[in-house]
């Protein structure tokens, strides 16, 4: 009997396997892999003259090689392969922009038409010539389905005036010079590649490099390494000391990066643990750069959930935050208290935006006014568990709120599920959510102030779920006036930011500072806070070794 059962089962298995021999149910579009070398080749090991290699340990992962769809950490690599029309310079520079693929530009009086004059004799890595058609196809593709498509919300179309002139026609006034210099969402891509990608959505994942940048993607091994080769036909030319190759070792652990750095196995790193910075400060072998950054930390109060629907309670909590202690402990002093949710140095930040102070007595007084003398309630704090800074500051918030009688339950989560749950059911989500933000390009008015607190039907990053029509109106007006009347726009933004402080849908903790530790033999490093996810532009760097 047992034997028959096994024989029957075997027969069923055979039938099942045979049924699988038919055509596959779904077409999976398999990206083509670059051809591997034929094997075996049993020869003497080749010994080549060593190229000048820049070795970097980085944690930034690659989610896609598609320059249109990309909107994540791979920007660190893509912005060395691709270029934009302009680059925006750091605040305080003599010129606001550096011309890249555009040599000059102008707009009409109301900022609804922007004409860019393009650089001649530029070629893409795939051999295609750079023309206005490439600008048109690239920007329109991004506006249509790009990862950062939203920055082109005002774009009607791009017109090819001639081979080296492109005109951006807008439905509404906007600072296209800023937008066209964005790290994400403004890359110019070869027309040949864009056409191929239309037929095959996974075209770029092979990976394919279709940029004009100084470096070409040579090879990529996921989770392991990325190698770039210099582009000999780069329009900027090459000078002695610039690197022939760039080798990026993908290392997620900060301490491992540090060990590789200290032992000389890599030249540059990006993620040394903050508590280990100081020994490098006075080390004569390194230059120690402390720079302002695009990133800031804030706390969202869920305004849909009592008692946080009461502005007095939110103000009380804002007074109960030990801002300087958080900066000292969470980021080892590498930060400054925020003035609203716009990082200092980025448009439209202003010293006229108010700040809270750490004042427990004031906090207690406000709680009493709100009908909660001595606190006596509990709040759930959901926080991103894989952000070391947030992990460090969360206990300080908990402890400080306890001093005014507010208990806090800490709930660690990964970002993706936290965000999903919050958007899906705001009324039953967290009470408090500490978070981090940065603007996609150098306009934190239309990004931070819009994304974080502008009410929309479906919440995106407005994770306090705060609705205020007066605030929305201020932001709408400020955005439309940014180009044609920046003075009024700034005034509206300041009014909006002060409203955010007074109404306290969030608490604005600190703007971070970035630290770069550069060996003395590497020259040319120039920090630009407008490109926080691109720590190194390889073309700038030279070696004196």
């Amino acid at each position: 009997m047992k034997k028959r059962l096994y024989q029957f089962t075997l027969l069923m298995v055979a039938v099942l396997l045979m049924s699988a021999c038919g055509p596959a149910g779904t077409e999976t579009s398999v990206p083509t892999e670059p051809a591997t070398t034929d094997a075996p080749v049993v020869t003497e090991a080749p010994t080549e003259a060593a190229p000048l290699v820049l070795k970097i340990a980085m944690a930034a992962a690659v989610t896609t090689w598609d320059p249109v769809k990309s909107f994540s950490t791979e920007v660190a690599y893509l912005d060395n392969m691709y270029e934009t029309l302009l680059l925006i310079n750091p605040p305080g520079s003599a010129e606001e922009f550096t011309p890249v693929l555009a040599t000059s530009w102008e707009s009409n009086a109301d900022g609804t038409e922007w004409t860019f004059h393009l650089r001649p004799d530029v070629v893409f890595h795939d051999g295609e010539a750079f023309t206005a058609e490439a600008v048109k196809m690239s920007i329109e593709a991004i506006a249509d389905h790009g990862g950062a498509a939203f920055i082109w919300w005002m774009l009607d179309h791009v017109e090819v005036v001639d081979d080296l002139t492109a005109k951006f026609v807008l439905t509404s006034s906007a600072p296209i010079d800023w937008i066209a210099s964005s790290a994400d969402g403004s890359r110019i891509i070869s027309t040949k590649a864009l056409t191929a990608a239309t037929a095959d959505p996974n075209y770029f994942e092979a990976p394919v490099d279709a940029g004009t940048g100084a470096y070409v993607l040579e090879s990529y091994k996921a989770d392991q390494e990325i190698v770039f080769d210099r582009f000999d036909d780069y329009w900027g030319g090459w000078k002695p000391g610039q690197f022939d190759k760039v080798f990026v070792q993908l290392v997620t652990e900060g301490i491992t990066q540090q060990q590789l750095f200290d032992s000389g196995q890599v030249d540059l790193v990006t993620s040394i643990p903050r508590e280990n910075y100081l020994p490098y400060k006075d080390n004569p072998n390194y230059t120690y750069h402390v720079e302002p950054s695009f990133f800031n930390y804030l706390v969202f109060f869920n305004t849909l959930r009592p008692p946080l629907d009461n502005v007095l309670v939110r103000q009380a909590l804002s007074y109960a935050i030990p801002y300087q202690d958080i900066i000292d402990i969470a980021v080892k002093g590498l930060g400054t208290q925020s003035r609203g949710p716009v990082p200092q140095g980025v448009w439209p930040s202003s010293p006229d935006v108010k700040q809270y102070t750490y004042d427990i007595a004031k906090a207690q007084e406000l709680l009493t006014q709100a009908g909660h003398p001595g606190g006596g309630f509990t709040l759930n704090m959901w926080y991103v568990s894989n952000n070391d800074t947030i992990v460090a500051l969360v206990p300080l918030l908990k402890d400080s709120f306890a001093q005014i009688g507010v208990e806090v339950n800490l709930v660690p989560m990964l970002w993706a599920p936290l965000w999903e749950q919050a958007k899906a059911d705001p009324a039953n989500a967290y009470d408090i959510n500490p978070n981090m933000y940065w603007p996609t390009y150098s306009d934190a008015g239309s990004d931070n102030l819009w994304s974080l607190f502008y009410w929309t039907e479906s919440p995106f990053f407005n994770l306090s779920f705060w609705k205020n029509d007066a605030y929305n109106a201020l932001i709408d007006e400020a955005i439309t006036k940014t180009v044609i009347d920046p003075v009024t726009a700034q005034a509206k933004y300041i009014e909006a930011m002060n409203m955010l402080v007074d109404e306290a849908p969030g608490a604005y903790l600190f703007d971070t500072k970035a630290v770069y530790i550069i060996p003395k033999y590497i020259e040319g490093f120039k920090y630009n806070l407008n490109y926080p996810f691109v720590p190194y532009f390889y073309y700038q760097l030279t070696s004196t070794k």
Binding site: Y6, T9, L10, V13, L16, A20, A24, G25, T26, T28, V30, P31, E33, T36, T37, A39, P40, V41, V42, T43, A45, P46, T47, E48, A50, P51, K55, A61, V62, T63, S70, F71, S72, H145, G147, A149, N202, E205, K221, A222, D223, Q224, V227, K245, F247, Q249, Q259, L260, S263, Q265, V266, L414, W415, A416, P417, E420, Q421, T440, S458, F460
Partner: protein, 340 residues
């Protein structure tokens, strides 16, 4: 005939095991409240893009339908496409398997050449200082977690003594000065086959620490098992007889005693081989070893469910296969064992 029947029965039961594993893994990966579409696009995915990608990945279908589609594609050899890398999961496995297998085989080689002799020595010199030392080494090996041991080795041998490299399969410079031509994608083997002696030395040095870290627990286990089996066998009459006839002690120990004592040790070696498959996860993370372990960990953290499913099924299949091979080996070594 018995062996054939055994193989067929194992095949049938394995299929049920793998189906069960696939159902459990599928269910668990869907329980976590997160949308893999966010991973696909990036941390700032717009709502409309999330909807588009959710449809693209088939995540809007009911769970049983998703499972059915997955299993149907699986029968055609399609393990799906990794959400994180956008490449076929099967391709990822094939690309990364050589690195893991190279580490695994090196580790298991150390287990056999270190663990078995340690156990034999320990049994032969029972009660003597040699026995104490080897037993201490065994206990350390089975007690200390691999991830901790790996970090300790890095501190001692890399940071303090500067004897061995920190991590990775080979030095960065090797890639440009003496690149290894791919033949089998096993770096050490390819270096030998292409007579790239610089690369051979470099890759051999790089594999030492991760292999020892991986082998530490199995070495301890194998040494203890070998010792226990040897002690039992060394008490047997035929061993006493062999000694009485003046047979050299070396022959008695390694040819008479070990042959009969090795059977349980073989089982343990096989099981630790299977253990080491998952043990490589920690080791690969610590030593930035570009194998299946690193891929699995990043897939888990990113909820890359096609990769999670693919790796789980791959691991389960390997486990079942190894256990079957171990059983067959045992029967071959000891004809008294009845497989059926």
């Amino acid at each position: 005939m018995h062996k054939l029947e055994f193989i067929l029965r194992r095949l049938v039961s394995s299929i049920f095991v793998l189906i069960g594993v696939s159902i459990i893994t599928f269910a668990l990966s869907r329980v976590v409240p997160s949308n893999p579409a966010v991973l696909y696009i990036g941390p700032r995915a717009r709502p409309e893009d999330i909807v588009r990608v959710t449809k693209l990945l088939g995540l809007d279908q009911p769970l049983p339908v998703q499972y059915f589609i997955y299993m149907r594609d699986l029968l055609h050899g399609d393990l799906g496409t990794s959400i994180a890398t956008k490449r076929p999961v099967l391709q990822e496995i094939f690309d990364r398997a050589p690195a893991s297998l190279e580490l695994l085989f090196t580790g298991m080689f150390l287990v056999v050449v270190i663990g078995v002799p340690l156990g034999v020595l320990s049994a032969r010199w029972q009660g003597k200082p040699v026995d104490l030392v080897t037993r201490t080494i065994s206990i350390i090996g089975v007690s200390i977690p691999a991830f901790f041991l790996g970090l300790v080795f890095q501190i001692i041998f890399f940071q303090n003594l500067h004897w061995l490299p920190l991590a990775t399969q080979y030095s960065t410079d090797l890639r440009f000065t003496n690149p290894i031509l791919p033949v089998t994608n096993f770096q050490i083997l390819d270096a030998m086959l292409t007579r790239n002696w610089v690369a051979l030395k470099d890759t051999a040095i790089h594999i030492i620490l991760p292999a020892i870290t991986l082998a530490a627990y199995p070495i301890g286990l194998v040494a203890r098992m070998t010792r226990a089996s040897m002690l039992e066998v060394l008490e047997q009459d035929y061993i006493r007889t062999a000694r009485a006839y003046g047979t050299k002690e070396f022959i008695v120990t390694y040819f008479y005693a070990l042959k009969n004592a090795i059977s349980p040790t073989l089982t343990v070696i096989g099981l630790t081989f299977a253990y080491a498959l998952t043990g490589t996860f920690f080791v690969e993370i610590i030593f930035i070893w570009p194998g299946l372990g690193m891929f699995t960990v990043s897939s888990l953290l990113n909820l890359d469910y096609p990769a999670i499913m693919g790796m789980t099924l791959f691991g389960a299949t390997a486990y079942v296969l190894i256990n079957s091979i171990v059983d067959l080996l045992q029967a071959w070594v000891d004809p008294r064992i009845n497989l059926v």
